[in-house]
Symmetry: D2
Subunit: 347 residues, 4 copies
């Protein structure tokens, strides 16, 4: 029985962790913390958990956390970095869903998050929790930085192209569309139904915090330097990210659609949560709603000699809570798919 703690479980990644962990018989949810809601029933915050989770929120510094086997942080950035060291020193493994340990380049992190990092040494020990590239390191990791939602969808789309040196790494474009849940459960005017539904718009044009994370990670798998134009869009739906990726074919390289399809299928042949679609089919975010799957398809525009990749995930599952649990499964030597086999809710 794995004893689990969740810190800051009052938002959408929090409820997803609980939805996915509560039914498991090999996991015990020991403690769920919230600064603001301590003492209240977890299911009063999330009525879908009535009858499934009977805990109350504990204070943020609950001593129970130290008795856990693993603790998930579902907090905003710059929270986890303040208390991770204590947990690790008590032998508690940590899976951080926030941004605190995602970027190895500390000055870059500090610039984008406008905060001084309090434990740069720990960042160096953190494992970037994208199982499709880091599975071995995850097994023994004490501290996991779960990738952001955009970075997951975008990396899974570009990886086969970069690993095989097929495209110009300096001319990448990621046009990404995210549901509103990516903004979290915060009372902010922009995300009111009346502001966000029946409309689409870009945001973060001058720069988005996931940009340096994506570039740093992709650079590990590319021989040439990554340069990326990344434009995220707020899309009128709750869940889902669709990343439409454009990459010009590298000069001197010739590609065919059959070859591209083959490259993708081989790359992900053994990946339980990356589903390469048959040629001609395209992913839709509804196909993965509530599931840990990332659906990917590849196309080739001969006219412009450009590869177009489509990558769809549920931002709260493969883009957050599901991927975190996938990491946990790997860390504890469980079947990687345990508790993550639920089928997307369609329609």
């Amino acid at each position: 029985m794995i004893k689990v703690g969740i810190i800051g479980a009052t938002g959408y990644t929090g409820v997803e962790l609980l939805r996915l962990l509560a039914p498991r018989t090999d996991v015990e949810i020991s403690v769920v913390t919230s600064r603001e809601l301590m003492g209240t029933d977890v299911h009063s915050r999330f009525p879908n958990l009535r009858g499934h989770v009977d805990l109350q929120f504990s204070p943020a510094d609950s001593e129970l956390l130290n008795q856990c086997d693993v603790v998930f942080y579902a907090t905003p950035h710059a929270v986890a970095m303040n208390s991770v060291a204590g947990l690790l020193s008590n032998g508690v493994r940590v899976i951080d869903l926030s941004a605190d340990f995602r970027i190895q380049n500390i000055p870059l992190w500090e610039q984008w998050y406008n905060t001084q990092h309090v434990c740069p040494d720990l960042v160096a020990t953190a494992v970037y929790g994208l199982p499709e590239v880091n599975r071995e390191a995850i097994k023994t990791a004490q501290l996991i930085a779960v990738p952001g939602c955009y970075p997951t969808a975008i990396q899974l789309g570009f990886l086969p192209l970069l690993e095989n040196g097929l495209v110009q790494s300096s001319r990448l474009i990621a046009d990404a569309k995210s549901g509103v849940s990516g903004a979290g459960r915060k009372a902010v005017e922009d995300y009111l139904l009346c502001e966000a539904t029946e409309s689409i718009r870009a945001y973060g044009i001058s720069g988005h915090r996931h940009h340096p994370e994506i570039c740093e990670s992709l650079n590990r798998y590319s021989e040439t330097e990554i340069k990326l134009t990344f434009i995220p869009h707020l899309t009128p739906m709750i869940r889902g990210i669709l990343a439409t990726l454009y990459a010009p074919v590298k000069s001197g390289v010739e590609v065919s659609i059959a070859q591209l399809q083959d490259v993708f299928e081989q790359r992900y042949a053994n990946e339980p949560f990356v589903d390469v679609l048959p040629q001609g089919e395209v992913p839709a975010t509804r196909n993965v709603k509530g599931s840990n799957k990332c659906q990917v398809s590849v196309a080739y525009s001969a006219d412009t000699d450009t590869v177009v990749v489509l990558s769809a995930e549920d931002n709260l599952v493969k883009g957050a809570a599901g991927q975190a649990i996938q990491n946990m499964n790997i860390m504890f030597g469980l079947e990687e798919t345990t508790g993550l086999q639920n089928i997307a809710l369609l329609p």
Copy 2:
């Protein structure tokens, strides 16, 4: 291992049956039929099933159906009645999600469905599959008529009041709001996104087919005759039914909110899928999205001496596929909640 067949699994109740049954280790999906799609992959119709269901659609008269332990009909009305007899005579138990066996009054059924019933004798043997009132009969039933989506939500709301003789049964009002999936996956103009979203309207003002079903069923639990005004509304969302029920208190009866709360809590104390909310809380369809739960709350308007009940369910789960499987579990002596414990997807 229970061998299961599904007839007509190309609509929304079909995909829900598959979503809920595919992960089970005690069930084998033997055959899935479709007149139009025979020979094609089931997951080409429902991409959320990729990697979970590897069957192809079989012809409607597949011989494999006769080798099943149980067959679900997910067909329009007036289909099941033509072939149920054959299956039953082969010892196959039948769970019909359509309307063919829901109404015992055959002339009434024929009037509302504008069709001659071909097997009225079988109707007499069918068990109305609402476990909260018919659990014992379901255990040994050969043929189950799964209640309609509106009838489930409305009956579960009225039952405690009628069984206890608290309200005037001749002045019931059910104002019900349904998501668009209740209309099925049919290419009909009225259900296009551009016609149905960002708007709400009533329909079936002159009469809805679920009206006689509700009245016939409620009459079994009421000493005085049921008269019901039932107004369904098309609501701009995919899933969910919220029934707002109004019942004037019976003349000479006095009620208090505490007593009403108590009546509801006692009635459903042992029901795994009916969740009576604490006083002051109200159900929302999002709280049960994808789950087999029906959330119910009761209130009392002293001014008009009227009881107001709110009842919310997922029309495709507790209102269709989930309830059908709940019946199957009871019929086969399994734990009633097997495979139906999944938590609602929120947000």
Copy 3:
């Protein structure tokens, strides 16, 4: 040229007033105030007004207000009552879209709004701005209380029945469904897209502030006392209210559907903004989106001897800004429909 001021024009009724008034050649928008946004461009708050409204927000106490012919209050409750007297004494006519002058019974108002009223004397002089019943009084009014969004839809539905003494006034039910814009443009968690879309729920079960307003107003037109069960519902859409009204026929009265239809058609024959639909058609909120129309239909459930009325409006137009302007037109002797003839946006 009518000089107009708008106080508190940062919410949805504010932008609707501007949308409807800006194109008019007989109206000059002199001043638009906002405590928080003073000094900023109005169109930076409402990008749809770019090129149409070139004003900046003025301070709340702008001296320009006293130079207006008419001032609209688009403020929360308990704001207008503090400054209306000053404007009136300067000869400025006032149209208040908030609740401050809607209820003549001051103690009742104070109880529901949990505030002491600072100018009960002015309340006595205020005219309730529902043109369909108060047109004459509106012509000479100095102070208009624009009805709430629910009260407008509900009163227009019940009026023909009550004026003709056809129904039991003590057993009225109003089951109303409102889009989320009724909650205003406030950063409140409940109205986030992720909380409010793809779900429907009731609210205000223990009492809603529009209840006393509706009852007080309807009592003016009913010989017997009004008792009303009023259940509002938060509906997953931006705009629109659909009120489904239930009224038992008065004992000893006989009604037919033809007669009911006639009663409604005659009552509203000369009303430019109440559209009685032909028998068999039902209103939908999409049919009136952005327009000042209220669509009404009437039906009769013989089984339960109950009249069912459906009433649909755009809560921000006929339920707020449009109705306010309709009042202004009447007050200033203009054609009542001036500037309010725009056709609903469909789809």
Copy 4:
């Protein structure tokens, strides 16, 4: 008084033409045709037109068409080409909202529309109705081909860059997001609310009919050949197109954001319906819902030396009916903005 006919006014562009034309005092809607609905009231098809349009649908070959000053075709492709010649020979000017006259390269048209063109000679005389580039030719045109919805948004975004030779014309990318109304009011399963809401997906990956139209048109304004990757996306909303455009800066050219902003502002300084947003602001489709405006913003990604343009319009107005009427105004010597000044409906 301009006598207007509308052919095939049963879809969404049809109702938009009627919404925009009906209030005008300088236009008389003489005849509205429909093959399927002839003889029925126009407002029974479009309830928003009740009280505004009192016509009935006429047969498709109504003689009244020949007495019009101008006839709009709101038909599917390959309809207009069969009857335009007759109207023109009677001196009736024609504004075709379909694709029949948009592409001068007849073999290319025939390939994409899989149809033989019956009047290639007329195509040569048709004027492409994008006023921002063709205003002079429109004035005297007898036959207008109104641009497609995607081509309008995309051309208005790329034009300033191409006319000034700033970008590599062979590496253009248009990632476009369209509301579902772009698919028309057709009973097709893919566009059901339950299929299209709460999801986003690309489509037309292997080629979209607007691609050759865009390229042919842009080539007129570019010194070097246009090559374009165009990926349209079905977005879960009714109205609106947002085109996110990517163009690498031409080798040897240096750009700055200030210069780009200036280029756009100068290009559209006198265009009433193209609104260049201030630096740092981005368009949203909600800002133009129901209006004839196209909002455009420009940004520069120094890292990848790429210009990013965002262009938003209402696909049914500036992308169809509004633009058609803008053409009519120009053709008949009216103020170009007549009847098109309505403000977007927000929220």
